[in-house]
């Protein structure tokens, strides 16, 4: 007997940890890893609501699968961008990436 609120609290905690990672980390790869954590938190929420409110319809799982697809695409493109930036600037620290600024 696990109440729905427990899942929601865990998911909120995971989301906030990921948010902190995105805002506070200097390294771009670490920021991407934190983004993956937040997307996982969203998926926990979707699956928990599906299981507790509407387990007869597959729409909650379908949403979670689409989130997963977009997360995979985001990871691939993001890491490709980081590698490309690393080739040009020899750095992946987010503060040092200021080409668009000047």
């Amino acid at each position: 007997m696990i109440p729905l609120s427990w899942y929601l609290i865990v998911s909120a905690c995971l989301f906030c940890i990921g948010l902190y990672g995105v805002m506070a980390r200097r390294n771009a790869v670490a920021m991407l890893m934190a983004v993956e954590l937040t997307l996982n938190a969203v998926n926990i929420n979707l699956i928990a609501f599906w299981r507790y409110n509407n387990p007869g319809e597959p729409i909650g799982v379908a949403w979670a699968i689409f989130v997963l697809t977009v997360a995979a695409a985001e990871a691939a493109v993001g890491l490709a961008l980081i590698i490309s930036i690393y080739r040009q600037r020899d750095s992946v620290v987010a503060e040092e990436l200021d080409i668009l600024k000047y």
Binding site: L8, A12, Y20, V29, L32, L37, I47, A73, A76, A80
Partner: protein, 179 residues
């Protein structure tokens, strides 16, 4: 069940904290895999076997390996002398913590925390098999999810091609070097 849930959640959250705080990025990636494993176990607790398997395949199998490759290809990442946080880490912590308090307060307003009051998930017969069947039907029926499903496949293809083009070295410069 509750003890199992608490243990799994604790593993997930502690390794997530380590992901955002550990200095060595390679260790952070390994902790990230552990955190993903915890989330897969949470899916299994929610009787969503399909999502648990997909989580294992996509996140632990593919995304983690991609991240580890990126870490290994960018040399200076392994350096462990300088601080892993930028100057606004205090403010970020405050914002994240207050967001957590806000979400938690709203959740507790709507859903009670006490298991005796809230109760567990509604019983569902043969949920795992039924869900996979329904998903297969929904993803291929013209009046349901076939359009988003096809769009997702196009998105994956575009992301794949795009990341190859972004990440490969400058071809024109190489040709000029050779000539």
């Amino acid at each position: 069940m509750q003890i199992l849930f608490i243990i799994i959640s604790a593993i997930t959250l502690v390794s997530a904290v380590l992901v955002v705080s550990v200095r060595n990025l390679f260790h952070a990636a390994l902790y990230m895999m552990l955190s993903f494993l915890g989330v897969a176990a949470l899916y299994a607790l929610l009787e969503s076997g399909f999502m648990a398997a997909t989580q294992l395949l996509v996140y632990i199998g593919a995304i983690s390996i991609l991240v580890i490759f990126a870490i290994m290809m960018t040399r200076r990442l392994m350096q462990t002398t300088e601080s892993p946080f930028n100057s606004q880490w205090g403010m970020s912590g405050f914002v994240s913590a207050s967001l957590f308090v806000l979400i938690g307060a709203i959740v507790l307003q709507v859903y009670p925390l006490d298991p005796a009051v809230a109760g567990g998930a509604p019983p569902a017969e043969e949920l795992v098999t039924n869900t996979v069947n329904q998903l297969g039907v929904a993803f291929t029926s013209a009046d349901q999810l076939v359009l988003p499903f096809e769009l997702a496949s196009v998105l994956l293809l575009v992301a794949l091609v795009g990341s190859i083009i972004i990440a490969r070295p400058d071809v024109e410069a190489e040709v000029e070097d050779e000539s």
